[in-house]
């Protein structure tokens, strides 16, 4: 082939369908690359900084001190240990007092990560480091004295940052750091005090694993041995959901891109048949044409991949920027893996999608130059088979799970069937309505070319469906959570309220005009047996809380607000317990089972009466186990309540603590703020990928409109020849776009509601809510978009006569 073929390739590539193909390919690449780059860099960063997050290789935590023999054993095995304790206590200075979360460590702390102190220094006996907030609250500076229990400590400076602060159980109160040796002297820790112990271990992986093997049988309930990989906070859960959503969005972008590519290539191959037939007539052989087409595709592949690569890299930067300080970790440079994945996707997709069009073109009989109806006979199921098979293989490769790939494939098939069927029904209904000649022409066309119509509607509906599904899920994910938190969501928790303090505190709250939650009695206890069998003492279990560790047990007469009964009935008859459904599932509990609990060394038992669903994100006091009052009546309880404290009443907080120094007040406002900030950042990051998916949807529409033009070509030429005016043809096409848009939008709305009803509870564990807005807006959006892209696609635009003359010449 000479230089001409390059001119031909270049000019073909920059025209209509192939330009769309290349853009769609670029979107696919950008979609997969941006998200995998973000995930890759985050994961690598977490691997590197994971141990910095816990400041150690392993930690042993618990509400009781570790056995001295364990620590000696660990040292004998060559492990380094840094013990520590956390508790909350009130600090006094300058006639002021404030609750602080105090942490006591020794000089070895931390093994990894950085303890930032200002001015630089170290933790030594007799001194205390205070967070900036505490310094301000107490009105003290370096060198001032602060009282902690029986001790007077000198302020050494500001505690700027602890590497493992995120894992502290007392994250929410302002923080103070002292030396471990001062704890005993302060006299604060007494029998029954609420202290959490934390031992940091450093050593070789194998030594640590061996030691854990030795230690494990001896661990007491409530003690946990942990690595760096688990965190169960609302923020971590939100980020986890967001990551799943990113993957869903990226997959959606890829699917839409593939759809647009398939439509564009199908359109290209049908249109190109005439030209290939001409080239064959003029003497081009199959091999020559194969080379020509291969170069064309290779060129598109390279250009699309490069464009997509640049776009994807830019978008990943944008996503990271939007996530902002949610990611408070230094990111390593990107690894080559995401680029290889994206390039592999581009190559496989192009190969998969081009098989049928290529065969169709290479087989086109040259006789077509004389007889326009002759074309290569390719069974219509070939296209569907390669598209579905290819999608299956691709999702298998990229998702790495056969089941998921099969599910995706079946889902797409089912969705296609629903979309096609509902579009078809709507079409029949519309046909009954009747109308002017343009209307009848449009519907006549749609009804005659049934298969083409179904494919056309299905493509548009799929694009609308996937795009909308993502917007709906995103809304649920980001706004749904905050929307379910009412403005007066409790932002303060009161715990450790003694029985005799309950009434006065309730009185104080009423006087200040503050609504509090119910006051719940709290008895601490551990679940030790189910139906007489001792429960698994594998306290390392990462299955979530509930068994093993100490639980806050309560009793109440009525089902607490925000709890929902799933099984059984609420009853106050003696000897009963109500169990949170998640815990029941983990422990395999059913109604009628008998639970045994250890309450400060004494055994009590109760029968499971009902299972409850609890909204853990509600910020209200929530409980795994709620007993009938008789079960816990003999045990001394402290009380717990939550209330909403408006900013302007913050003095109430100080006076309450002053008057009731033994109670503990948690300020969860900071946690709520953190949650809101993270959600806002995640939401912004999601917008980036949503823009990508929306663009992919529009590309599908554009490709579909272009392709429809091709299908309609013969008929339009005929109409023109029969003397139909440009206005009539334009009007009939507009009717067609309108019908397609409405029908596709309606079936997309149906599919969105169905899919959301399944996805939200099952995948995101969020309750389903109807989305009435999709019903009017999707059909409208579909119609408007199709009419607009129809205009932009060039069929209705410009002098129709010119366009039709090109069509009449057979090579337009």
């Amino acid at each position: 082939m000479g230089s001409l073929s390059w001119a031909l390739i270049w000019r073909e590539a920059s025209r209509g369908p192939l330009r769309l193909f290349m853009l769609a390919l670029a979107l696919c690449v950008a979609s997969i690359l941006s998200v995998t780059l973000v995930a890759d860099r985050l994961n690598n960063a977490l691997k590197v900084s994971g141990r910095e997050y816990i400041a150690a290789d392993r930690i042993l935590t618990g509400s009781r001190a570790a056995d001295l023999a364990w620590l000696e054993e660990a040292e004998a095995r060559g492990l380094q240990i840094a013990p520590g304790q956390s508790f909350s206590s009130v600090l006094f200075a300058n006639e002021r007092l404030h609750l602080a979360s105090v942490r006591a460590v020794d000089r070895q702390f931390p093994f990894y990560g950085e303890l930032q102190l200002s001015p630089a220094g170290e933790v030594s006996p007799g001194t205390i480091w205070l967070s900036a907030r505490l310094l301000a609250l107490l009105g003290v500076g370096t060198g001032d004295k602060v009282e902690l229990g029986n001790l007077t400590l000198t302020v050494a400076g500001e505690l700027v940052k602890e590497p493992d602060a995120g894992f502290s159980p007392f994250l929410l109160a302002p923080r103070a750091l002292i030396h471990l040796d001062d704890v005993a002297a302060s006299g604060i820790i007494m029998e029954g005090s609420r202290v959490s112990y934390r031992y940091l271990f450093k050593g070789e992986q194998d030594t640590l694993d061996d030691f854990y093997g030795w230690l494990r049988p001896q661990l007491q309930p409530g003690q946990r041995w942990r690595g760096a990989d688990d965190a169960d906070t609302p923020v971590a859960r939100s980020i986890g959901r967001a990551e799943q959503f990113f993957r869903l969005a990226s997959l959606t972008g890829v699917l839409l891109g593939i759809l647009a590519m398939a439509i564009a290539l199908g359109y290209f191959s049908r249109r190109e048949q005439d030209r290939i037939a001409l080239l064959k007539t003029l003497g081009a052989g199959r091999r020559q044409l194969f080379r020509w087409l291969s170069r064309l595709l290779a060129g598109l592949l390279v250009m699309g991949s490069l464009l997509g690569g640049l776009l994807g890299y830019g978008l990943h930067k944008l996503i990271l920027l939007a996530l902002g300080d949610t990611l408070d970790i230094p990111l390593p440079p990107p690894s080559p893996a995401p680029f290889l994945v994206a390039a592999g996707l581009a190559l496989l997709t192009t190969l998969m999608l081009s098989v049928v069009p290529m065969v169709r073109l290479l087989r086109v009989p040259p006789l077509r130059v004389l007889r326009h109806e002759s074309e290569a006979r390719i069974p219509p199921w070939w296209s569907a088979a390669t598209l579905l098979g290819g999608t299956f293989v691709l999702s298998w490769l990229f998702a790495g799970e056969l089941g998921l790939a099969a599910g995706l494939l079946l889902g797409l098939l089912a969705l296609g069937a629903v979309l096609g069927a509902s579009c078809w029904l709507l079409l029949i209904l519309a046909r009954r309505l009747g109308g002017g000649i343009a209307f009848r022409l449009a519907f006549g066309r749609l009804q005659r070319a049934r298969l083409a119509t179904l494919v056309q509607f299905g493509g548009v509906a799929l694009a609308l469906f996937l795009g909308t599904l993502l917007w709906v899920v995103r809304g649920e994910l980001v706004d749904g959570f905050l929307a379910r938190l009412p403005a007066d969501t409790p932002n303060r928790f009161l715990i450790n309220i003694a029985e005799q303090e309950r009434e006065p505190i309730q009185q104080r709250l009423r006087e200040a005009g503050l609504d509090s939650s119910q006051f719940y009695p709290i008895v601490r206890g551990r679940l030790t047996g189910i139906n007489g069998q001792s429960v698994n003492r594998d306290v390392d279990s990462a299955q979530g809380g509930g068994q093993g560790r100490e639980l806050n047990l309560t009793y109440t007469e009525a089902l607490p607000v925000g709890n929902r009964l799933l099984q059984g009935a609420w009853s106050n008859t003696p000897g009963g317990v109500s169990v949170e459904s998640g815990l029941a599932e983990r422990l395999g509990l059913a109604i009628g089972d008998r639970l045994t609990l250890d309450l400060a060394g004494q055994q009590v038992s109760a029968e499971v009466r009902n299972l409850r669903e609890v909204d853990w994100d509600s910020m209200r006091p929530n409980f795994y186990l709620i007993f009938s009052p008789d079960v816990l009546a003999d045990y001394s309880a402290t009380w717990l309540a939550s209330f909403y404290l408006p900013d302007e009443l913050s003095s109430f907080e100080i006076s309450l603590i002053r008057d009731f120094p033994t109670i503990t007040l948690f300020d969860v406002e900071a946690l709520l703020d953190q949650l809101r900030a993270v959600l806002a950042q995640v939401s912004r990051a999601l917008l980036v990928i949503m823009a990508l998916v929306t663009t992919a949807s529009l590309l599908v529409l554009l490709a579909q409109v272009e392709a429809t033009l091709e299908v309609r070509r013969q008929e339009l030429v005929l109409l023109r020849t029969l003397g139909a005016g440009g206005k009539l043809i334009t009007a009939s096409l507009r009717w067609e776009w309108l019908a397609a848009g409405l029908a596709a939008g309606f079936s997309a709305a149906l599919a969105v509601e169905l899919c959301v009803a399944v996805l939200l509870p099952w995948w995101l564990e969020l309750p389903w809510q109807p989305h009435p807005w999709v019903w009017p807006s999707l059909p409208l959006l579909g119609a408007v978009l199709l009419l607009l892209t129809g205009r932009a696609g060039g069929i209705v635009k410009g002098p129709l006569a010119v366009r039709l003359r090109q069509l009449a010449q057979g090579l337009g």
């Binding site: 080239l279 007539t281 003497g283 009989p365 130059v369 004389l370 090109q806």
Partner: protein, 189 residues
């Protein structure tokens, strides 16, 4: 030579067979001494490229190539380089010297057919097949095209087989064949 006949009488079928675009179910067609039905598609394409030129009713120019490039295309497919001079000469002969860099959409129907004629002579074919070359043109332009076609045909010494409905046009050919329900008969007078 003119090939006349009513619609559906089999003119286009015969043209397709003669060009090796289709295979005859019976009988033999020889071009350049070679039996067409014994060749595969690849060989038939090579044969067309060597011996046959085409002019179509709907011009069939590639819209992405300029007039000059369209004319050069058949030679390019044969892998013959340095053919630009000949293409320019042909375009000059069809009166389009000043429009060589225009794309088909920028040319009128008559001009497009001239480009198609120039393209047909590009490889110096021995046989030129024309399928109703004036069918898409108005009478006046059609006349000009026919004059051009006949003139070039004479100058290049090519055999022209033209399918047409036009009796007047057919009468200017040396031989006239009438296709009637698949049967050919020679018309005289």
């Amino acid at each position: 030579m003119a090939l006349l006949g009513a619609s559906g009488s089999g003119k286009s079928t015969l043209l397709g067979l003669l060009a090796g675009l289709d295979i005859a179910s019976e009988g033999q067609i020889r071009i350049g001494g070679q039996e067409l039905s014994s060749l595969d598609e690849e060989q038939r394409a090579a044969l067309r490229s060597k011996y046959i030129g085409f002019v179509f009713q709907s011009f069939l120019l590639l819209p992405t190539l300029t007039a000059l490039e369209n004319v050069m295309l058949p030679a390019d497919l044969q892998g013959r380089a340095g053919n630009k001079k000949r293409a320019l000469l042909l375009l000059e002969q069809v009166g389009l010297r000043d429009r060589v860099h225009h794309f088909p959409t920028q040319l009128s129907g008559g001009e497009q057919q001239r480009v198609a004629i120039a393209r047909a002579f590009m490889t110096e074919p021995e046989l030129l097949l024309a399928d109703e070359p004036t069918g898409n043109l108005d009478h006046h332009t059609g006349q000009q095209i026919i004059e051009l076609l006949f003139r070039l045909n004479r100058e290049h010494g090519t055999t022209l087989l033209m399918v047409t409905h036009d009796e007047a046009l057919a009468s200017r050919c040396q031989r006239r064949l009438l296709m009637n329900a698949g049967h050919l008969e020679e018309q005289h007078g």
